[in-house]
Amino acid sequence: MTEHVTEKDVRDIAEYCRIGLADSEIPQMTADLNAIIDELAPITEYDLTGVEPTFHPIGDLSNVMREDVEGQSFTQEEALSNAPAQQDGSFLIPSILGGGEA
């Protein structure tokens, strides 16, 4: 198996994805990702010179515009109904300025 990603890479990716992996989970995740990336090799083996990419199966997608008229949407109460924490009609989060965990 080729080492596409190191354990250090995996720690960096986890941080970027905001997934707090425990130290004990890093080796297995590294092995899993390397095994999967190995399987992606066929993608790199074609001569794709001059081939246009298809990012979406419906090629001629365009923005859909509508008249700017008021429609039905969530009430504040509905929008907050699934919030893990709320206060005074807002989502409640830990302080983002100072005093945080390192």
Binding site: R18, Y46, L48, T54, N82, P84, E101
Partner: protein, 495 residues
């Protein structure tokens, strides 16, 4: 009467003749779920109030002499995959991340089914966030295959397939990103349709791979699946990829296959890993179609070999993007007590997502990173062009393609645990999502070795889903309508 084991036409004629009421259909269907689902575990949530309320509405319309105004799913017991929002129900995607989430709104496909008269029975088990092919990654326990409860039902829409196979619903809805409707349909011996991308609105269906996801029905007959498609398809202003298809999917279903050209793909039939029993079943289906007057033609799909790798680039990248919305702030699992927002994010997402979800998010993040993007992501989208062109070229000579759905029939729990090996089982279904075509599974008997159901896959050009439904109806004629799994066929529940 066991309404969940009846087809739509039988329910409709019984209601019209006042042999039974929609309320009886709902009550009996709920009783059957009580009796059967302890063994199968297809349902994550049962919604008796919603089913009974809708039944009373249908009965009131019948009493008022308005039966003809009722939609095509009037009084039909229907259930939905757990990634589809239905206001007031939990929409958990079988994940701890959304365990306590209660939908404040309803997905378009669900709303259209209910507007067409469907009795909503509840929400169905799946692989977590639809990442999987066995339903084993559900955070709430796996679903059992009704044909043999020691085997997987397939996935990710395992609950949708098993509920129909065990006669707990007449129609269910699932979603298919790389085979998640067709493969469980094959494993559980039911009709399972992934329409062309754009036929059904994805609004309100929790997104996995936005350029690949498509909603479709499970049923025990091709006709029922077509009726369900009629109810849920068409343009939705809330999903800009939904197309203005005004197709009656039941039209021409019984026209037969005489004069049709049906393709067989040597790359598929000769692939390593294809079990002999599935190969024989598909060859048998081709022979039956030939006997019924179809011309069987070999077609080449030279780039299809790259489909799995293209998929496992594109899908995780889109999943990485889609799953970034789970922030532990607006909704979803939150690990409490953190002093920083970053700490809360990291702990909540680590504990809320299961192992496969975390793997795919990490993989997608890596593949979209600078330098790596040019090596995998951009070429994957170029390969998508080549695969799409392969299919377009094939459709110049054939109306429909016949292929396996999966290399094997349903396997035992835990039999495949390595992610890369599991991904390889998606060979036959994935390229259809890449190209956006329609594909479906229709039962063609039992495998000679495993004695488990085998599905034949029929693949049709984009927005010509009628082609595959017509061939499927011919195969159904030859093999018989899909049965309720034997162990559940004689279970009686309720009144």
């Amino acid at each position: 009467m066991e309404f969940g084991t009846m087809d739509i036409a039988a329910i409709r004629s019984g209601l019209a003749a006042k042999e039974f009421s929609a309320r009886e259909v709902a009550e009996q269907s709920l009783a059957r779920i009580d009796a059967v689902d302890g063994t199968v575990n297809a349902f994550l949530e049962v919604t008796p109030e919603a089913a009974l309320a809708k039944a009373d509405e249908v009965d009131a319309a019948i009493a008022a002499g308005a039966f003809d105004e009722l939609g095509p799913l009037a009084g039909v017991p229907v259930a939905f995959k757990d990634n589809m929002n239905l206001a007031g129900t939990h929409t958990a995607c079988a994940s701890h991340m959304l365990e306590n989430y209660v939908s404040p709104y309803t997905a378009t496909c669900v709303q259209r089914a209910i507007d067409a008269g469907a009795l909503p029975l509840g929400k169905l088990n799946m692989d977590e966030f639809a990442f999987g092919s066995t339903t084993e990654s559900s955070a709430f326990g796996t679903t059992k295959n009704p044909w043999d409860t020691s085997r997987v039902p397939g996935g990710s829409s395992g609950g949708s397939a098993a509920a129909v196979a065990a006669g707990m619903a007449t129609v269910t809805l699932g979603s298919d990103t790389g085979g998640s409707i067709r493969q469980p349909g094959s494993f559980c011996g039911v009709v399972a349709v992934k329409p062309t991308y754009g036929v059904v609105s994805r609004y309100g269906v929790v997104a996995f791979g936005s350029s690949l996801d498509q909603v479709g029905p499970f049923a025990r007959s091709v006709h029922d699946a077509a009726l369900a498609l009629n109810a849920i398809s068409g343009r939705d202003e809330r999903d800009c990829t939904s197309q203005d298809v005004t197709i009656d999917f039941t039209r021409g279903l019984d026209a037969g296959v005489s004069g049709m050209k049906i393709g067989i793909v040597p790359e598929f039939m000769d692939a390593a890993g294809l079990t002999s029993e599935v190969k024989h079943a598909i060859e048998g289906a081709a022979e039956k179609l030939r006997e019924m007057g179809a011309e069987i033609v070999e077609v080449e799909l030279p780039h299809v070999r790259a489909a799995i790798s293209a998929y496992y680039v594109i899908a995780p990248c889109e999943a990485f993007s889609n799953l970034s919305r789970f922030d532990s702030v607006r909704y979803g699992f939150c690990d409490p007590g953190h002093k920083s927002l970053a700490g809360q994010y990291e702990a909540s997402r680590a504990k809320g997502f299961g192992p496969e979800a975390r793997r795919r998010i990490m993989l997608g993040s890596y593949l979209l990173s600078a330098g790596v993007y040019d090596k995998y992501y951009y070429p994957a989208q170029q390969v998508r062009t080549l695969i799409t062109q392969d299919y377009e070229r094939a459709y110049e000579t054939v109306d429909c393609i016949l292929a396996p759905v999966a290399p094997q029939t349903a396997f035992a729990f835990g039999q495949i645990s390595d992610p890369a090996t599991m991904y390889a089982t998606d060979l036959y279904t994935i390229s259809i999502n890449i190209a956006g075509n329609g594909g479906m599974s229709v039962p063609v008997g039992l495998g000679e070795d495993s004695q488990m159901p085998v599905g034949a896959q029929l693949i049709a050009p984009a927005f010509h889903d009628m082609n595959m439904l017509r061939v499927a109806a011919a195969l159904e004629e030859a093999y018989g309508t899909a049965r309720v799994a034997p162990d559940f066929a004689d279970v009686k529940a309720g009144a």
